[in-house]
């Protein structure tokens, strides 16, 4: 039997909320699939569209950007800029034909270990039937 497709997910987590939330998931021993490799950034507002395009080019099957809920940003308003920027990137990627499910954004607070776990589980579930991302991926 062929091995089940395991999507590769790159997750940009802000240091103060989402990374802390994923830490909490760990502390609470919640379980989620190991498909996601987190990259801690200072703030979701620091995630450049280049990072997202680059992750897809390098073969990510899904990319997640996660930050603090509106109003909770450690840097006061970085996540508001992120929200606007990511909306534009998402629209663009869908317009050029990337499956919309492959690029997601979430708000995960430091207290939301459960939510982080669910976000990752659902992300993996939705990516599995899509198969490998080849649309933006570098030719092998």
């Amino acid at each position: 039997m062929a091995e089940e497709f395991e999507p590769k997910i790159v997750a940009f987590l802000c240091k103060w909320c989402s990374s802390a939330g994923s830490d909490l998931a760990g502390v609470s021993r919640m379980q989620y699939p190991p498909n996601v490799v987190p990259i801690q950034v200072m703030c979701s507002g620091s995630v450049s569209p280049l990072y997202i395009f680059n992750a897809f080019k390098k073969g990510a099957d899904g990319v997640l950007v996660s930050g603090c809920h509106p109003g909770d940003c450690h840097y006061i308003e970085g996540n508001y800029y992120a929200r606007r920027r990511i909306a534009l990137v998402k629209e663009l990627l869908e317009f050029v034909g990337l499956e919309p499910e492959r690029f997601q954004m979430s708000w995960v607070s430091a207290a939301e270990g459960t939510k982080y776990t669910e976000v990752i589980k659902d992300f993996v579930d939705v990516l599995k039937p899509l198969g490998p991302q080849s649309h933006l991926r570098r030719e092998q």
Partner: protein
């Protein structure tokens, strides 16, 4: 109607007064049916200027050029340059002002109204003429383009061969100018995003296939980048070499320069280039459509910019180049910005 003599008179006046360094306008091209940009320093040569629907180029690009040239000169002539500016081109000037790239005093704007016309699309004209090869183009006073073909002259209403950008134009009258010529006509198109909406109505898969095909044609001649007045970065993400070297730049810093996009014109790199270009222009592209016109491979790149223009309008009520005082689209936010897409 823009009175060409009036335009020449104004251009000549500022040139003769020594008020401007030179006048950037349009002249007839020997090589092409479309006009060519001209840089006039001699008042006598003002006579060669033309204004008709072949004046396709966005001359704002040459204001950027002038700024770069001045930066290289030891004792630059600081007088402004005069530029003939269509409505869309004037929005580009606005963006440059908004981004503090130029000062208002750097440029003397000879605003020309497109009124109910615009510029023509050579390809549409070719289709109208059903493959008949055409030579010189002239325009009669009934707003027809008169083409000389192998079978004599053919008249086509300009409106039927207008460039798509003009059909969907949001500013057919200059928003900023020192001299204004023609009739002010602030019409708004009925369907400013019709072409994008058509693309949007396709399935995600169909769009994917469409772009796979289109972008794989790209030879990365960077004409789209080069013609864009908003692409004024000294160093572009696709450049393979670091231009920002200073005496203290270390070899390691040079070596570590990221190649976000490789030079190979392969599919993934072409996608990378065009995605970055589009996102870089979001909230800045004023839809002069030149990127698409100049593309030798006819890649419909304007779609990408237009799509984001539509998104910015719909989601954030932002229109580029309309207000020079506002913070840029991505350098601002509203509390009520949509977030339904965020989990």
């Amino acid at each position: 109607m823009v009175n060409l003599d009036e335009l020449k008179k104004e251009a000549k006046r500022v040139l003769e007064d020594g008020k401007v360094k030179y006048v950037i306008g349009y002249v007839k091209s020997k090589a092409s049916n479309m006009a060519a940009p001209a840089f006039v320093t001699d008042p006598e040569e003002i006579e060669n200027l033309i204004w008709d629907p072949t004046c396709v180029q966005n001359l704002t690009k040459f204001i950027v050029d002038e700024k770069k040239r001045k930066a290289q000169q030891k004792k630059p002539d600081t007088r402004p340059v005069a530029v003939v500016s269509k409505g869309c081109d004037s929005r580009a000037i606005n963006v440059l002002l908004q981004e503090k790239y130029i000062e208002r005093d750097d440029v003397f704007i000879l605003g020309v109204a497109c009124e109910d016309l615009g510029v023509i699309d050579e390809k549409k004209l070719a289709q109208k003429l059903k493959g008949k090869r055409f030579g010189e183009l002239t325009f009669d006073d009934k707003k027809n383009v008169v083409a000389t073909t192998t079978d004599g002259t053919v008249k086509v209403p300009v409106k039927e061969v207008l460039a798509e950008r003009c059909v969907e134009c949001q500013a057919n009258t200059p928003l900023i100018y020192d001299v204004f010529l023609g009739e002010e006509d602030r019409r708004k198109p009925d369907a400013p995003f019709a072409s994008v909406e058509k693309m949007e109505s396709l399935s995600n898969k169909e769009r994917g296939a469409f772009w796979q095909e289109q972008l794989s044609k790209c030879v990365r001649c960077y004409a789209c980048r080069s013609t864009c007045p908003m692409c004024y970065c000294d160093e572009c993400v696709v450049d393979t070499i670091n231009f920002a070297v200073t005496p203290d730049t270390t070899a390691q810093e040079k070596a570590l320069r990221i190649k976000w996009i490789e030079r190979a014109s392969t599919k993934s790199e072409n996608f990378g280039y065009h995605l970055v270009r589009a996102i870089h222009l979001v909230g800045r592209c004023i839809d002069c459509g030149e990127c698409e016109r100049v593309c030798p491979l006819d890649i419909p790149i304007r779609f990408l910019n237009k799509k984001l223009e539509k998104t910015a309008k719909e989601l954030f009520d932002y229109e580029p180049g309309m207000d020079t005082e506002k913070p840029a689209l991505v350098a601002s936010f509203k509390d009520e910005d949509p977030e339904e897409f965020i989990r």
